[in-house]
């Protein structure tokens, strides 16, 4: 990592909105949603205030991880069009402030989770933050093209944390949801990586399309989609869920597979004209929302 000198504007105290921006609120919505679904699908009862606190802690933990990620990658973000306007690369905030904010938020979210729910859930939250910052951001992302496959594990933790906040342990269903999110991440991110490839290339990040080329990326998207489809249908076969999840998973996964197949077959090399890739990326987000929502509906119907 190289140290950059930022404009003198950093003497100005950062706007509070920039602290919020550091936590990547938009990414947080998916994390909060999957965490909430894990919590609602868990057997047993949790006081609504404690449930709210648990979800708040998951959101703050994700925000802390995102903040530390941007603290570490400020120089890389400065080279990419998509990220150059983030608070650190744009010089609107002192790096040290971002570090303190990220570390403080990490401690706060983990301790609050432990006090409000249980220390097992707090432990899993801590592991997910450490995993995202150290294993993914610092170690793997700059070194291997399979970075997001392993990094995806960090994003797959929330349903486990939500479940653990209620039960104090891990069950088969949250593990199945973990696997689903884990194998969903590669096709989701590589679809994005295909159409923002010039950005990643400029920043020197070894994303798969940059290192292995587009053909290989399309093959890998197809490969991981197949595993993801198996993971999506596993809860049905294991009888962990009911008819609602079963039908949503079947229909939703069929559409996902069809879109992934279009991406696999495409030979387009101009990022501006990559329509199937954009479609798959957008649909993949909706897909995860649908499947997790269906898990909760199922649980309530069964109850």
């Amino acid at each position: 990592m190289t140290m950059l000198t930022y404009p003198a504007a950093t003497l100005m105290p950062a706007h509070w909105r920039d602290f919020v921006a550091l936590t990547k609120p938009r990414v947080m919505t998916l994390v909060v949603f999957t965490g909430l679904c894990g919590l609602l699908a868990a057997p047993g009862h949790i006081h609504p205030v404690l449930a709210f606190t648990a979800i708040l802690c998951i959101a703050l933990g994700a925000g802390a991880a995102a903040t530390l990620n941007q603290w570490w990658e400020a120089d890389i973000d400065a080279k990419m069009k998509r990220t150059a306007n983030r608070p650190l690369p744009a010089g609107r905030m002192d790096r040290q402030a971002a570090l303190h904010f990220g570390v403080g938020l990490s401690f706060f979210s983990v301790i609050l989770m432990g006090v409000a729910t249980n220390w097992f859930a707090a432990g899993v939250l801590l592991v997910s933050i450490l995993f995202y910052v150290f294993i993914y951001t610092i170690w793997l992302k700059p070194r291997t093209a399979q970075n997001i496959v392993i990094g995806g594990a960090a994003g797959a933790f929330p349903p486990i944390i939500g479940w653990a906040a209620v039960t104090g342990d891990v069950g088969a269903l949250p593990v199945a949801l973990f696997m689903l999110t884990f194998f969903w991440t590669p096709p989701h991110f590589w679809a994005l990586a295909l159409f923002v490839r010039p950005d990643y290339a400029a920043a020197g990040i070894p994303m798969l399309p940059v290192v292995a080329g587009e053909r290989a990326t399309r093959r890998q998207i197809w490969f991981y989609t197949a595993i993801m489809a198996a993971a999506a249908l596993a809860p049905v076969l294991l009888r962990l869920t009911g008819i609602v999840y079963g039908s949503v998973a079947l229909a939703g996964t069929a559409v996902f597979v069809a879109l992934a197949f279009q991406v696999y077959r495409s030979r387009e090399t101009d990022p501006a004209r990559m329509k199937p890739e954009r479609r798959l990326f957008k649909y993949s987000i909706l897909y995860l929302f649908l499947l997790f929502g269906a898990v909760v509906v199922d649980r309530w119907l069964l109850a």
Partner: protein, 45 residues
């Protein structure tokens, strides 16, 4: 430092103080609510 900069710094400090105050107020209410929930839970057992 120009006077405009000074004004902007003051404005930012003020908005940050307000947000910090609101957050602290929210946390005070949240911790109180958590305490009540916990006491209720231990009574239930």
């Amino acid at each position: 430092m120009k006077p405009e900069d000074q004004d902007q710094i003051r404005a930012r400090q003020k908005s940050r103080s307000i947000v910090t105050g609101l957050l602290l107020g929210f946390l005070a209410i949240l911790f109180f609510a958590i305490t009540l929930a916990k006491i209720g839970a231990s009574h239930a057992i």
